[in-house]
């Protein structure tokens, strides 16, 4: 990895956590997701296809990820960005990349907590501008200062990890040998079950539960991939809701 590539990758990590370019939650739903930042890192490293594959694999872990009320259990953008960067430079299998990325995501959660703590220091300045009645200055306290802080908090660690990690990852992988890589692969294959379990926690409820098994059975016996499966079930869902409306209409009460 060149210095320029490491700089660009670190800048992507800053952007994923900043308001730019898609807006607050927009960025969080787009560039913050490993599938998307994996593609961007892949472009920077000259292999967009591999970046997309690795990013999407890492993203399996974070499908049903819910951050509500200001809590953030893991930083999936760090997992996606560094995981993809290290996997491409180290030539690691995608499933092993997932096993490496998940602890990075847990580490990245520190940035979130640190940011919400440190940004508190800017509140008095906002109050000062309010007391003075200067709306034209609010951008300083809402954008300039907290974003500078965020830049320092995200760019520097990610640059160091990408540049030095990228330089040594190949040697480290060679030194680890086949058994370790095989185990990382096994772990990476199982990890999506945790992400899917978290999603199920939110949606595996009531009448919808049987459809989980139906989707599983269709996919496992007939080898139907996700896209056709989604379209088939879109129709089934509409039929189900229509029938339900009718049954509910005649038997309700």
């Amino acid at each position: 990895m060149t210095v320029l590539q490491a700089i660009l990758i670190a800048f992507v990590y800053y952007l994923a956590n900043s308001p730019w370019p898609f807006g607050g939650l927009g960025n969080y739903a787009i560039l913050y997701r490993p599938m998307v930042c994996g593609l961007v890192v892949g472009i920077i490293l000259g292999d967009p296809v591999q970046g997309t594959i690795i990013g999407a694999t890492i993203n399996l872990m974070y499908i049903g990820f819910i951050s509500a009320g200001g809590s953030m259990p893991a930083d999936m953008s760090l997992a996606g960005i560094l995981g993809t960067a290290l996997a491409i430079t180290g030539g690691i299998e995608t499933e092993a990349a997932l096993a490496i990325a998940v602890p990075l995501g847990l580490l990245g959660a520190i940035v979130w907590v640190g940011r919400l703590t440190l940004d508190t220091a800017f509140v008095p300045l906002a109050e000062k501008y309010a007391d003075e009645g200067k709306p034209e200055k609010v951008w300083i306290v809402n954008i300039l200062l907290p974003q500078l802080l965020l830049f320092v908090m995200t760019f520097i660690p990610c640059f160091l990890a990408a540049y030095f990690g990228g330089a040594y990852i190949q040697d480290a992988i060679n030194a680890l040998g086949g058994t370790v890589l095989r185990i990382l692969g096994i772990i990476g294959g199982m990890l999506p079950a945790v992400g899917i379990g978290m999603t199920l926690l939110a949606i595996f409820k009531g009448e919808a539960r049987i459809f989980f098994f139906l989707g599983f059975l269709l996919a496992t016996y007939f080898g139907i991939s996700i896209l056709p499966l989604s379209l088939i079930f879109l129709c089934i869902t509409v039929i189900y809701m229509q029938l339900k409306g009718k049954v509910g209409g005649s038997y309700s009460g």
Binding site: R33, N59, G69, G189, A193, I196, A208, F212, I226, L227
Partner: protein, 280 residues
């Protein structure tokens, strides 16, 4: 006074571009200075600045008051929170026109709406829309389709800004009761039920396609033959039975209140032990 009456008849002190500028500031910078003390309070103040600048152009005292009342604690969901921006802008406009609205009126509307909006918005986007779009496009992306992440991003962006803009106008023109009614209406529940069904089915397919776990156990039989448990039993009865069992186990543990970190550690331990012993 004549001048004021004239404005009142026309009904608007704010220009469309003020409202749009406030909304875009909200959509982009609502969480730019996210902090434990005020949460999105500073972001809300920033969003209100175009409104405040317009209404209190020649009124320094009014400007200070308005800025102070919008620096308070605020926390909600981004896109649905657009409704509060529209509504607060409308209230500020009414106040300037002489309506009897004190600081309490503003803070009770803002705090009264932020809870229900986050209560619908967080699960709606993060629990339904994003996971559904993700599972839909992840399958393509894992096969190496670089258009998939781009399509995912574009669809989400349009949906999210579309809903936000619609709610901004609803808040500005219709007011708080319309918004609360909408959040509690049957239509939203129907969408969530339908999305839940579709989501379950696709997640089931995801387990079969992307969770991989197989056993390497082989049993030596008499005449030198080897019985390979995975290919000769599991694959014949139900190929994805181990991934399914693992997923349901993870779900069960999480439901029991075991933290996701601990579940991950269990998987790491199982992987190491299974890999070393040759079971997996």
């Amino acid at each position: 006074m004549d001048n004021k009456d004239k404005v009142q008849k026309e009904g608007t002190l704010l220009k469309k571009k003020d409202l749009r500028s406030a909304w875009l500031k909200w959509m982009y910078y609502f969480q730019s200075c996210y902090n434990y003390e005020r949460m999105q309070g500073i972001g809300f103040l920033h969003a209100m600045t175009p409104i405040i600048k317009r209404l209190y152009k020649d009124d320094p005292e009014g400007r200070k008051e308005a800025m102070k009342r919008h620096t308070q604690f605020f926390n909600t969901e981004n896109a649905l929170g657009s409704a509060v921006i529209g509504l607060t802008a409308a209230m500020e406009e009414q106040k300037k026109k002489g309506a009897d609205l004190d600081n309490n009126a503003f803070s009770s509307i803002k705090t009264g709406l932020m809870g229900p909006l986050a209560g619908v918005g967080d699960p709606l986007w993060q629990g339904v829309v994003i996971p559904l779009l993700l599972v839909f496009f992840l399958g393509l992306a894992i096969e190496g389709n670089v258009i998939a992440p781009i399509l995912y991003s574009a669809i989400f962006y349009v949906l999210y800004y579309g809903v936000g803009y619609w709610l901004l106008n609803l808040g500005y023109y219709k007011g708080s009761e319309t918004i609360l009614d909408l959040m509690e209406s049957g239509a939203i529940n129907k969408v969530i039920t339908g999305a839940g069904i579709l989501g379950n089915a696709v997640i089931g397919g995801l387990v079969a396609n992307y969770v991989s776990l197989s056993t390497a156990i082989q049993i030596k039989q008499a005449e030198g033959q080897v019985f390979v448990l995975q290919t000769e039993l599991f694959d014949k009865i139900m190929p994805g039975v181990l991934p399914l069992a693992l997923t349901l186990l993870c779900y069960w543990l999480l439901k029991k209140g075991v933290s996701s970190l601990k579940v991950i550690l269990v998987i790491v331990a199982v992987g190491i032990i299974g890999g070393l012993t040759g079971i997996l």
